[in-house]
Amino acid sequence: MGGTFSTDPVVPRHDEVERDQSDTTSGGRPHVVLCRWDRLILEAALATETAEITVIIDEWEHANRQIDPQLVGRLRALKVIRDFDDMSAMSELGVQLQNAVPPVTRVISLAEQSQLGAAYLARVIGTAGPSIETSVLVRNKIAMKRRVTAAGLRCAAQVSLESGSRQDVEDAGRRLGWPLVIKPAEGMGTVDTWAVAHIDDLPDSIEETAKTHALIAEEFVSGDEYHVDAVWTAGEPADFGVSLYVVPRIEIDTPGRNNGSLHLREEDFPEVYEELVSFGREVNSALGITDGITHSEFFRTGDGEWIFSEIATRPAGGAICNVFGAFGDDLRVRWMKSELGRREDIARSRPDRPIIGWVNLAPATTGVIAQTPDPAVLARHPFVRQVIPGHQVGDVVGTLHPSIWSWMAVIEADDETQFIERMRILEIEAAFEIIPESEFTS
């Protein structure tokens, strides 16, 4: 039955650039596929010089992001797909990449939006990457907590809301107790998240949001909220940092106030580290996470109990990864070095101040940005380690929620009180001028 055999150098759906398949100059290096465009991560990956890099972006990114042609020129390929959630498009791309030269050795998702697509792509290509099961579990808070709870770990109790109606929420309140936290089952950060003290305080927007998003109601946990950012290798933390949010995320009512966190030194909080490394391992084990970067959140109640909140298999938002840059490489750089065989090159040092943290400096109203903070004014303070520019003149701020990242600063302090004081100074000095959008358009 043997006979003809056709090989097919498959033509991609939409390639911005692709090196000729006959170009075999990879020198036997691995071939890593990065999903979504992130300049800092891409530069870190290319700087390792250990792998051929293919980047996949979606049509939205292609139309809206500044794709640097010089960086693109250093890639094996840049491919554009309709949408990371479009299985037909991803399977077509997977078939192309099955025959890529050199063979693809790993698929990595850089952002929340590409989590499902990256896992699917890895499976189609038949290469290393996140599993589909894990990608679903980390995207959906209901399934995630069910799995973590089943592993015997403490999570905030939750129920799904069928309709988001008053009756629905009232039933949830009876079951879980008031106040309640209401949020999308599949969401990122604290977008569309409400703390509802009582049924009479129910915002109308909840029922409206429920028409398009599955919502969950969750037990309100009072206590301190921590986040853990880590890079894992074979189930063990290669980098692991614990930080305390200035206030729990749910209590932030405007993105430019109290919106930051303080990194805790392991030497100052050895027990916290020990407990959270252990808890983190168990969470990962329950969800099938062994390698890569994670951003997870935990509450600590007044009596010292740790309660798991959620985990994402992507870099944290805000300036959380930048904070690591104050004592070595940015966490995203550490991640790429770890993934791409340069673990020995990761720069790590002891934090030279007890507290290093970050703060988000954002507009207090919606509208069109007419004036931004002056970076020189912010940077003149000796306690400011880094200023990260955000919104620029002409940008439109359409909504205000705690995950609207604007200008940010990495700052140092001797203790928590001093950190809060310094954060407050920057919040005041970070002056935005905003023109209401209606006024601007008229």
């Binding site: 056709s6 097919d8 759906r13 078939v95 699917y120």
Partner: protein
């Protein structure tokens, strides 16, 4: 009780599974929910239905998977009864961590380029092919250089002969690509002239437990009128054991790369010279049109065998398909010959006046709107005859006499 998550709606398959005592949760997509007519009695036997936006939308399917995980609904296996649900079924099986089509298997079956490469890797002969670039002039050049004319152009992830054509020249290819751009991306493959067959096989634990080979009355690509010789003749094993042995060898070779375990496959191949087979394609589902119905006069619709293996029935208890030594069988699709609204269908008395019609499944009813393609719905029949020649004569007789009347211009 075993619970299956069934992707898409195919009433015969669903009924066969229910008859085996399986509990079913059926997923429809929004198109099906809006356009299909569901048999209420059958719906009443299903535990639950779930509607998803599309079987290609990972975000929606992940919500379905999370919802089932959240409820603690125990799913024993994900099964697919329609090609368009295959990628989604594999995704759900993987997300739920239960048996079902694998992602790799689903992509190898849905994407014709991957399918051919997988078949070739197993030493199975395939037609030469090439994927066409999006740019028209490059596409034509690729077709000329890599395959030549005549060739067959088709979508890389198509189904049946939808958006598929024989192309004889570069100018024809340009014109065709321009007119069918919505079905891109495309591939071209070498035009194979020869007799075309379909093979339907039921598998259990990676072994074939039933197989049937049918020869199409006309190669599928040549069907320009869905009412004329739109069917296939069952090849009796006793009359051509060599062909069966070849088909079984081909399937055994394909079992590895396509990960066949327990289920059903529907394959197509060409016979380019006596004893010389060229693989065309394979699907992980029951064959369409009359490919399953043809076995009803032999003892059982092949979907009943499939349902039995899905329910874990032992081989010795499967329904037995038997041939009558003085009879040949064919399935035949009878269909409207123009697009529009159906205003009259053949009556029961008209059908009964042809005693060689052994089985009828009506697909179109008065008031339906129909479009014209090789799978245009009308009715599926199973007919008998003394030999293949008589089956062809009878197929033409029925095409002329059991007609559908259509008001032209009512359908898109």
């Amino acid at each position: 009780m075993t619970t299956l998550l069934v992707c898409r709606w195919e009433p015969n398959s669903i009924e066969a599974l229910l008859d085996r005592g399986l509990e079913l949760i059926v997923l429809f997509d929004e198109w099906e929910a809006a356009n299909r007519t569901f048999d209420s009695e059958l719906l009443g036997r299903i535990s639950r239905t779930i509607t998803v936006a599309s079987f290609d939308a990972m975000d929606h399917l992940s919500i379905v998977a999370s919802g089932l995980l959240e409820e603690g609904t125990a799913i024993d296996e994900v099964v697919v009864v329609d090609e368009r649900g295959l990628l989604g079924a594999a995704y759900l099986a993987s997300a739920l961590g239960v048996p079902g089509p694998s992602v790799l298997q689903s992509v190898r079956v849905r994407d014709k380029r991957a399918m051919k490469l997988a078949a070739a890797s197993a030493g199975v002969r395939i037609a030469a092919f090439a994927t066409l670039p999006a740019d028209m002039s490059e596409a034509v050049k690729t077709a000329e250089d890599r395959v030549g004319f005549p060739c067959v152009v088709k979508p890389v992830a198509g189904m049946g002969t939808t958006a598929t054509a024989r192309i004889d020249s570069a100018s024809d290819l340009s014109a065709w690509l321009g007119a069918n751009s919505e079905s891109a991306p495309f591939m071209v493959e070498e035009f194979i002239s020869g007799r075309e067959y379909h093979v339907d096989a039921v598998w259990q634990a990676g072994r074939i437990v039933e197989i049937a080979v049918c020869r199409y009355m006309k190669p599928r690509i040549e069907i320009d009128n869905p009412n004329i010789l739109n069917g296939a003749t069952l090849i009796r094993r006793d009359l051509d054991p060599g062909l069966y042995e070849q088909a079984e060898r081909m399937h055994d070779a394909l079992a590895g790369p396509f990960e066949f375990s327990t289920g059903i496959t529907h394959a197509e191949f060409f016979e380019v010279a006596p004893g010389e087979l060229v693989f065309s394609e394979i699907a992980l589902r029951c064959g369409g049109a009359g490919a399953m119905n043809i076995h009803r006069p032999r003892g059982a619709d092949m979907r009943e065998l499939w349902a039995a293996v899905m329910a874990g029935a032992p081989v010795e208890s499967l329904p037995v398909l038997e041939d009558s030594p003085d009879q040949h069988l064919a399935w035949l699709l009878l269909a409207p010959t123009s697009a529009g609204t159906v205003v009259r269908i053949p009556t029961d008395d008209e059908i009964a006046s042809y005693p060689y019609i052994l089985d009828v499944e009506r697909l179109a009813k008065v008031g339906d709107t129909v479009r014209l393609h090789s799978l245009t719905a009308g009715m599926t029949t199973v007919i008998s005859g003394a030999d293949e020649d008589e089956l062809h004569v009878r197929a033409l007789e029925l095409a002329e006499s059991l007609t559908f009347e259509v008001e032209i211009g009512q359908a898109p």
